[in-house]
């Protein structure tokens, strides 16, 4: 499995993880060896086998449509990095 620097940059950007050049190089090697190990699994014959997203075959429980949550803004915002007037703040997003 070969991965190139461009792929790692693209994935890192999708995942919003900043990488410097050295790190990017290291992750190229890591991803190659991990995906190399994963190759073994790709060889398993699975024709006609349905994917299994959950190990237990159960169905979704439904919640009655009632309001159960009270306002806890102050508590939730106590450890927030930046808030003002109840809003969470981030650098201006240019539309």
């Amino acid at each position: 499995m070969s991965i190139d620097a461009e792929q790692v940059r693209r994935i890192a950007h999708l995942a919003r993880i900043g990488l410097d050049a050295d790190e990017a190089d290291r992750y190229i090697g890591d991803l190659e060896s991990i995906l190399g190990m994963v190759e073994r699994m790709r060889a398993v014959p699975t024709d006609g086998v349905a994917p299994l997203p959950h190990p237990i075959d159960l169905q979704q429980r439904l919640r009655p449509d009632v309001v159960t949550e009270a306002d806890q803004r102050d508590l939730f915002q106590a450890d927030a990095p930046a808030v003002a007037e109840g809003f969470y703040l981030v650098p201006r997003v240019v539309e």
Binding site: I11, A15, I17, L31, L52, P53, P55, I56, D79, V90
Partner: protein
């Protein structure tokens, strides 16, 4: 008779009044202090622990819960209201959870005294305890070795005698592997048996909380408290909770035990092979029958897991973006800079490695070949287990390929580290319960074997493990200096 340092032992002495809750808590706090070099705990609020213990002492006998006054350590992946909850990450170094996990509510309601939050591999990603922002945890049996991971601090805290029991989580072996490395008994329950509410997610379809202690008897006490349906977790199963303690003493004679020879084809250290073989003989002596079971796809579990778990993790960890809570980089230039640097600074290298792997396998062009294929392999593995449990009651297997390895030995080779999970991962993929128990020693280090059961077969696992522990002394081994 319960050994002194077990949960059951302390429960007896608390019940007889030989010791008070507060005295026991103080004793635990002192031992935590003495064992500080093991780096088992991330947060301990001594005053609060003593206050809670004193409150427990004031409870009239008739109103005491099943875990009255018993000191229990909590892996720092469980939210505890108004308490710092870090998941071993710089990302959450300063974050106080506004609510408690379901299991914490259950333990508190049962009267337990929560001693503190234990160290762990960051976001439960690791098999050695070395991937913590708060530094590696050391193994009480040999402090140059790892305690296993990711529930590293929970395992070390119990093994060092700081607490008689702890909670961990197990996504690919994170309860069982450290239990094996530290000479403990640990149980990963059936997926959906214990609510995941308030447990910081690593891989949602694999994560499960469970207890770690010296004996199966202690695990039964704890599981009875934490198991059960919680409507806040859609994957929490509404199935009756067995009386696990009562099930301990059921007869073993006539039980059918499966041996998966294909799995044993994996690289296993000779002492581990011997331990499994001796355990098999013990069960035979107890009247169980032994059968060969085929789990032909189980060895593909590691690669399937290292597709599925990172895939789920990569999106579970997207919420750590420096906007509403957690680490934010200083003076972000713009929104993208805020994301890139907050996450680059907040996450350690193993977490980044898994997020990148997971992002890759979910991305356009790879989803089918990696993610869906891994889910198909997952179904094969699960169905093979279900078929096997048509023939046998439990499956006996190693927990780990070998004993605890040296600190630093595998940090530079992620794939070698991942192979540590070869025996534990299949149970997570299949959602079945699995228990690791001490089964021998090698070079002064404990070894564990695993019992795997069908969905909701926890009572059977505990029954067989208890019978094994009645017949053997492996679970009585202690690191030097730790009371029996």
């Amino acid at each position: 008779m319960s050994a002194d340092s077990t949960l059951a032992g302390w429960a007896a002495r608390l019940g007889s009044g030989e010791i008070s809750c507060r005295e026991l808590a103080a004793d635990c706090l002192a031992r935590i202090e003495q064992g500080a070099h093991l780096n088992a705990f991330v947060s301990v609020d001594s005053q609060r622990v003593l206050d809670v213990a004193a409150e427990r002492d004031a409870i009239p006998r008739a109103e005491r819960g099943p875990l009255h006054g018993l000191p229990i350590a909590i892996k720092d992946i469980f939210c505890q209201a108004h308490t710092r909850t870090t998941a071993g990450s710089r990302m959450l170094e300063q974050w106080r959870a506004p609510y408690s996990a379901h299991v914490i509510e259950r333990l508190e309601a049962a009267g337990a005294v929560l001693l503190g939050k234990t160290n762990m591999d960051e976001f439960a990603m690791g098999s050695s305890g070395e991937n913590s922002h708060f530094g590696a945890t050391r193994n009480p049996w040999d402090d140059s070795r790892v305690p296993g991971g990711s529930s590293s601090g929970s395992a070390a805290a119990v093994a060092a005698g700081m607490v008689p029991a702890a909670l961990g989580t197990d996504t690919g072996g994170s309860i069982r592997q450290p239990a094996a490395f530290c000479g403990l008994t640990g149980l990963k329950p059936t997926y959906g048996r214990v609510s995941r509410w308030g447990m910081i997610a690593f891989a949602s379809s694999l994560d499960q909380a469970g207890p770690m202690a010296w004996t199966a008897e202690d695990l039964a006490m704890l599981l009875g408290v934490i198991a059960g349906c919680d409507t806040r977790d859609s994957t929490s199963v509404d199935a009756p909770v067995d009386d696990y303690s009562k099930a301990l003493s059921a007869p073993v004679s006539g039980r059918r035990i499966g041996i998966p020879s294909a799995l044993l084809g994996a690289d296993v250290a000779e002492p581990v092979r011997v331990a499994v073989d001796e355990a098999r003989q013990t069960f035979e002596r107890l009247g169980a029958s032994i059968h060969e079971v085929a789990l032909p796809t189980a060895l593909a579990g590691v690669p399937a897991y290292y597709v599925l778990a990172p895939a789920e993790a990569s999106t579970n960890l997207a919420r750590f973006d420096g906007v509403r809570f957690g680490h934010r980089c200083s003076e972000p230039r713009n929104l993208t800079d805020l994301y890139l640097r907050s996450r680059a600074e907040g996450f350690g290298s193993e977490v980044k490695r898994r997020i990148l792997t997971g992002t890759y396998v979910l991305s356009v062009g790879y989803y089918e070949a990696y993610y869906l294929q891994a889910q198909r392999v997952r179904r094969l593995i699960r169905d093979e287990f279900l078929a096997a449990f048509g023939q046998v009651d439990v499956i006996l297997a190693p927990t780990t390929p070998g004993p605890a390895f040296a600190l630093g030995e595998k940090v530079d080779d992620p794939v070698a580290m991942y192979q540590q999970d070869v025996f534990t991962i299949p149970a997570n993929l299949a959602g079945i319960p699995a228990l690791s128990m001490p089964a021998g020693m090698t070079g002064g280090l404990p070894l564990g074997v695993q019992l795997l059961g069908p969905h909701f077969g926890e009572a059977t696992l505990l029954n067989l493990a208890h019978a094994f522990q009645q017949a053997t002394d492996h679970h009585l081994e202690r690191p030097s200096g730790v009371r029996e």
